[in-house]
Amino acid sequence: MNSSISVILKKYESKSRDSLIPILQEVQETEGYLSKDALVEIGKDLNLPVSKIYGVATFYNQFRFQPKGKYHILVCRGTACHVKGSEKLLETICRNLDLKPGMTTKDRMFSIDTVACLGACGLSPVICINGEFVAKVTPKKALKILDELKEKESENARV
């Protein structure tokens, strides 16, 4: 039994299925993502099939099922960024990392998510890496950033 999850579950004593989403949100906040074990535990507590919880969680964009990578990349898919080619940008990043939005690389280095709008349309197309905005990202620029990060990490590994 994961203690941080049981602490969260204790807060929702009514054991009603109405608490499911707040519980999922809080678990994600503490754990960073929704692990299978977490869903099993929540299911036991609320007496809901795990599959049902998974179905609910996958309905919402806010939940992720893999831990975030060391570098968490948000790609803005708002209108302005779309017009400026964010679709191509997203595709490029995904192909480079062999990932889909919501997923994390096997070495847990990179993860990608999309957002509807980062509210920085003036910088479009914009991405956000670990909270820092990168403006006017072309696919080429994105690949350069990724290469730099990978380079940095392999150097770290050597040291």
Binding site: L39, S51, K52, G55
Partner: protein
């Protein structure tokens, strides 16, 4: 009954029930409002919107499936405007559907295809661009028996609801949203999920999204339109007696199997019934009679086999007392007609009561106990009654695996009707997840537990005094006997905490309608009869018998074990439970059968092998049984089989027992014959011929009739109907269950005294069969064999969902083997760690009687120092280890408890 109100659909006045939905009322009156996500067995989804209707004075259209009728409601179901709207909705649904009808197995039986045709929405005529391509990555064909094609899925959610609301499993879910919404098993792919392959989901899928794999045709695909015949018959596996529709093509090959929408299963099946019937056409089937020449069995003609057998039998019979040196094992796998004739053969042609069948090691103790206390040994209520109970007490039954379809009824009672479930089982079986209380008693302490429950009920005055006064005898003695079974005392014996006993007793004692269900965990003990008596006491003092939703419900194991008992395939009773030693009964049967009968009880099944070794039996006639795997203490059994003068085996396979036979008769399987079974709830159900018999095989009753003729007895039965007509005369409970009614499709529960009687769903309603119920005090008896330093583990045997009995049928199915193919035993994970045994490691299990080598499976289900071993696997036969300690009252063997040790190799 709900009030009847009037509604108007398109101007037509129709009657509807208060509270029902418009669509239900409309469909019942043949007003076919189109729909895709509706199913009368499932809760309303309301997602497809095809069933929209307009209601006078309401501004917007509403879905008929989710709108409740009101008195005088004026509904328009069809006009040009609604039809135009439906066409747009359908157009949208079609944009999500890969309409590759030309290559779809559902071609011809697809609801969506029918609607597209009805609304003239061919490919060239649609407005919306196809969008199903994105779903392709979510297809999942990893299940052993199912295929999910996400591109064809229309998100009607019937499969998800069937899994949750009918099967009570909740394995499926709707993942993602919008265009990517698909059905999935959640985190895992299908094959790694808890899906056990019952196929309920595939049966409700309206399109070709969720389909059954072609397990009967080696993967070769067939469309529903290739099916030329659908035969309704009874599943040949457990005692639930599911009605199946077997679909065959023009070459008489099984294409698929579905559950029929009739009692008792209402469309459901388990994985064995739907995907596990391959044994019938298996290449190893016996095709010709065989006779022993030296060390081997060689094929011969029927004439030779029958003449040899008849001569030998006559020879043994001619010795002084020779008739009683021959014994017959009848079969709970065969029809009522086969069993009736088999026992008639033994009693009239041979002249002995030495006939018995596997009920002896199944519910023999139940029958012995309930006959004494109530006057009838059968399940008192119907399967459907579980859903009418507000409390269900399941003890010694891993219902999910042994009676899967009954387990779904129990789960539905809990999930849909808020019934409370009490489980008493040493293992953490699947039903524990649904239970309000789980009592984890030590093996072999069931009497103490039941007495403890009775103690609490009496102490808290939860018993029904009127019922006890008017309808029972023996209450005072019972009361006195349970005085010492305080919760604390019972805790010491059973290991169940006192507060759990009190809680369970209160739940059971305060129920309006409480049902008890049990199987081998109660019966297969040397105190099996007393175990059942203790449960009977519990039900009777609380008045939980004779009414809907209550009762004492022994779930019978084999497809026709109830029928085989009814037909008198028993050492101590004639057909209809007339006792052999009763003079009047003997006279009745002598005049019915026009011959002299033996007045002496026969040898019960569990004593047959001893009798052989003691020289009291020289010949055995075994029909459809496999004692060389199923009997307790196998070394002993095999020694006995080897020493016989004449062993006759009549079977569909050359099974382990047949290896020792002198003569072997090839028989027809349940899919190749006509007749009847009687399921666990006393319902007489039809067995209908689907396939042709292989080679020279014959129906069992025909073989028995031919052998009788060889012995000089000329019967003249031409069909199963002829035998059933005789059963109608001989067995009072079956008087009104005529072949005509069975052929008409009536599924009648006995007792049914005449041909107009509808049958009896609930026994002991007005009065008990024996008059008053007899309450009998019973005391805790420890198991025959307890653990010691040398044998520190308690071994319990049982079953697994994917296999049946000794596996002769199920292990011929590739589909079932793909779930579980090799012998294993379950061991507590901590014990495994302590003994440093790895998952899957082969170890030796030893008891005082034998040893087997088998792989270990770590389990959270079994307690420490307990082992669980399925008995399906001849190569690691559980019964090498078990003890032949017998219940003195019913001759039941103690298969559930023996002491063993484990050695690493």
């Amino acid at each position: 009954m709900n009030d009847i109100i009037k509604i108007f659909i398109d101007g037509r006045e129709i009657e509807a029930c208060q509270g029902e939905k418009i669509l239900d009322a409309a469909l019942r009156n043949n007003i076919n409002i189109p729909n895709l996500c509706y199913d009368k067995k499932l809760s309303c989804t309301g997602s497809c919107r095809m069933c929209i209707v307009s209601i006078e004075d309401r501004p917007v259209n509403v879905p008929a499936c989710s709108t409740v009728v009101e008195n005088g409601m004026k509904i328009i179901a069809f006009n040009d405007k609604l039809e135009a709207e439906r066409k747009v909705i359908l157009d949208l649904i079609l944009s999500m559907h890969n309409d590759d009808c030309i290559n779809c197995v559902k071609d011809g039986s697809c609801d969506l295809q029918d609607l597209a045709f009805r609304y003239d929405l061919g490919r060239g005529k649609r407005t919306f661009h196809p969008m199903w391509g994105d779903a392709a990555e979510y297809s999942d064909s990893s299940s052993q028996v199912l295929n999910y094609d996400a591109t064809k899925c229309i998100q009607c959610q019937k499969c998800i609801k069937a899994c949750q609301e009918i099967q009570g499993k909740g394995i499926l879910t709707l993942e993602n949203r919008g265009i990517e919404a698909v059905v999935s098993t959640g985190y895992n792919q299908w094959s790694d999920s808890k899906c056990d392959g019952c196929g309920e989901c595939a049966q409700v899928c309206p399109v070709g999204a969720l389909t059954m794999k072609f397990v009967y045709t080696d993967g070769k695909r067939f469309r529903d339109k290739d099916i030329s015949k659908i035969t309704g018959t009874t599943c040949p596996y457990c005692g639930v007696g599911c009605q199946l529709d077997v679909h065959t093509n023009s070459e008489n090959q099984i294409i698929k199997v579905t559950g029929s929408e009739s009692l008792p299963n209402l469309g459901s099946t388990c994985v064995k019934g739907r995907f596990g019937l391959q044994y019938s056409g298996h290449k190893e089937r016996l095709k010709s009679p065989m006779i022993r020449r030296g060390n081997s069995l060689v094929e011969c003609s029927w004439n030779e086999a029958l003449a040899f057998t008849a001569e030998k039998l006559k020879e043994i019979k001619s010795i002084h007392g020779g008739a009683d040196m021959i014994a017959g094992m009848s079969s709970a796998r065969c029809t009522n007609e086969d069993n009736y004739l088999f026992q008639k053969f033994m009693r009239t042609v041979i002249g002995t009561n030495n006939v018995d069948h596997c009920a002896r090691i199944c519910h023999g103790s139940t029958v012995a106990s309930m006959l004494t206390s109530l006057g009838s040994g059968a399940m008192t209520n119907a399967i459907a009654d579980f859903e009418k109970a507000d409390v269900i007490f399941v003890t010694g039954s891993n219902t999910t695996e042994t009676h899967p379809v009954i387990a779904t009824a129990i789960k539905r009672a809990v999930l849909n009707n808020n019934a409370r479930l009490i489980v008493a089982d040493p293992r953490k079986i699947d039903l524990v997840r649904y239970a309000a209380v789980w009592m984890k008693q030590k093996n072999g302490t069931d009497i103490a537990l039941a007495n403890g429950l009775i103690h609490v009920i009496l102490k808290e005055s939860l018993q029904k005094d009127d019922f006890i006064k008017n309808r029972t005898e023996g209450f005072e003695e019972l009361k006195k006997s349970v005085e010492k079974y305080t919760p604390e005392y019972v805790e010491k014996i059973t290991g169940v905490p006192a507060d759990k006993i009190i809680e369970a007793a209160r739940i059971y004692g305060t129920a309006q309608r409480a049902s008890i269900a049990w199987t081998m965990g109660i019966t297969q003990h040397a105190c099996g009869t007393d175990n059942v008596t203790a449960l009977t006491n519990l039900a009777v003092i609380t008045g939980n018998i004779g009414r809907e939703g209550t009762g004492l419900n022994p779930l019978r194991g084999q497809n026709n074990v109830q029928g085989a008992c009814d037909m008198g395939a028993q050492w101590d009773s004639y057909p209809g439970y007339f006792q052999v030693e009763n003079e009047t009964a003997k006279n009745r049967f002598e005049s019915l059968w026009k011959t002299k009968l033996s007045s002496k009880n026969g040898i019960p099944l569990t004593e047959i092998m001893d009798a052989v070794l003691e020289g009291r039996l020289k010949s055995l006639y075994i029909m459809g049984e496999n004692p060389a795997v199923s009997e307790p203490d196998l070394n002993h059994t095999v020694e006995a089989l080897k020493s016989l003068d004449l062993l006759i085996v009549q079977d569909i396979f050359l099974n382990e027992t047949a290896q020792y036979a002198h003569v072997v008769f090839p028989a027809a399987s349940a899919l190749e014959k006509n007749g009847t079974f009687t399921n666990t709830e006393r319902r007489v159900i039809p067995v209908r011929k689907v396939l042709n018999m292989p080679g020279q095989a014959k129906e069992d009753w025909e073989i028995i009739q031919d052998l009788a003729a060889g012995m000089g007895y000329f019967w003249n039965y031409r069909s199963w109907e002829d035998i059933m007509k005789e059963i109608n005369l001989v067995v009072p409970q079956y008087s009104g269950i005529t072949p005509e009614r069975i052929n008409k499709g009536e599924l009648i529960q006995w007792p049914c005294p005449d041909s107009k009687h509808p049958g009896t769903s609930i026994l002991h309603g007005e009065k008990f069969t024996r008059g008053k119920a007899l309450l009998q005090a019973v005391e805790h008896i420890p198991p025959a064999e307890e653990t010691s330093e040398e044998y520190p583990f308690v071994l319990s045997t049982g079953r697994n969902l994917f296999h049946y009995h000794t596996g002769t049928m199920t292990r011929k199915s590739i589909a079932l083997n793909s779930f579980c193919s090799d012998p294993y035993f379950e061991m507590n994970e901590d014990d495994m760690r302590e003994l440093a045994i790895n998952e899957g490691e082969k170890v030796k299990i030893l008891s005082r009687r034998g040893e087997i080598i088998i792989s270990a499976r770590s389990s959270k289900r079994v307690e420490k120092e307990n082992l669980f071993l399925p008995f399906h696997f001849a190569e690691a036969a559980a019964n090498m280890l078990t003890i032949n300690a017998l219940d003195p009252k019913s001759k039941m063997a103690e298969l559930k408890v023996c002491a063993v040790n484990i050695k690493r190799l």
